[in-house]
């Protein structure tokens, strides 16, 4: 039985710890590793250790980078006066894919969530306040998720920032492009109506 092959059990349990990977999938992935050439397991292992060791937070915006400051913060062509505040590093990628945003980012690494025991002090908010104190920043775009926690985080930061004379904006709510009105929930539709624009 597999359960008696300790190195296999260990590999399966490492895969199983990953989010969204169940027992069956973990087994399938582990068997796949055994079927691949030995160099592949070694390359995968190196990639894991390397990524974890070399990647850290940009000392300015807290996004992920393997440099001291990230490529976006270092880019002279980006507008340093507009900061898009996001919850997670992956959100930076989502905005970058739009090729629409020319400002810079600030990554909070989470949202305020009392139920999970996450308060403002666990987020990278003080680093944001430090950036604001330079006076270079004119606008903060709150781009947290449209969830209860995302909204709470946006309004918490907004209350902190506004007294400093910095403009605070929030992403627009509305119907997603390419979606079907029939399937839009009533809150989204109501927001889309409120935010209607002249054409």
């Amino acid at each position: 039985m597999a359960n008696n092959i300790i190195p296999l059990t260990e590999l399966i349990s490492q895969f199983e710890r990953l989010p969204g990977i169940g027992k069956k999938t973990a087994q399938r992935l582990a068997y796949n590793i055994l079927e691949q050439p030995e160099e592949y397991a070694q390359r995968f292992a190196d990639a894991l250790v390397n990524a974890r060791k070399k990647i850290h937070f940009c000392k300015v915006c807290q996004a992920l980078t393997d440099r001291e400051t990230c490529l976006i913060c270092d880019d002279a062509s980006r507008d340093k006066s507009v900061v898009c505040v996001v919850a997670e590093p992956r959100d930076v990628m989502a905005f970058e894919r739009t090729r629409e945003f020319k400002g810079v980012y600030h990554v909070l690494h989470g949202v305020i969530s009392p139920l999970d025991g996450i308060g403002p002090e666990q987020l990278h908010i003080k680093e944001l306040m430090a950036r604001l104190s330079s006076g270079e920043i004119k606008e903060i775009i709150m781009a947290t998720n449209p969830t209860v926690e995302g909204e709470a985080t946006a309004s918490y930061i907004s209350r902190l920032v506004k007294p400093m004379g910095v403009k605070v904006t929030r992403l627009a709510y509305g119907i997603p492009v390419g979606s079907d009105l029939e399937y839009a929930d009533e809150f989204t539709l109501a927001r889309a109506l409120q935010g209607r624009n002249e054409i």
Copy 2:
């Protein structure tokens, strides 16, 4: 952008090479690694290299093991005269979970599939023939999948083995336990009728 963080891109692409893992999932898994403590990445890396290095085929039955012969082949209480022939190592686990089978196994590591360029010589059939030559084996249960390739492999091996005076059997076809007749395909139902038993 993530694509500019080379260690992250490398980790994502390693996850993406796994079966059933798409680009989005690979990204999610890679970010998860970055969020975990550094020891976790190291343990995962060790598990990968260890499993690949220490696990090989049992020299008797070709199942996976980290010993010279596997625990099943070494178990004196198992009936060495009945060999269940399966395509993949994971099939051994499936039979062991039933706690029903007291014989031993032989793992072919694939099935005959001309379209994929897999002929009998790529499978561990000669190792099976070598085991049969000892004369200890009385019955071979062909337990390959009920697919075209599985059937072809079963009948190919059956033709090789029968002249040696060894009994060759095949798993029973029929309706799965707990299933709904309404959803059974006509081939399965026909086989279930043909194989009906008196109660």
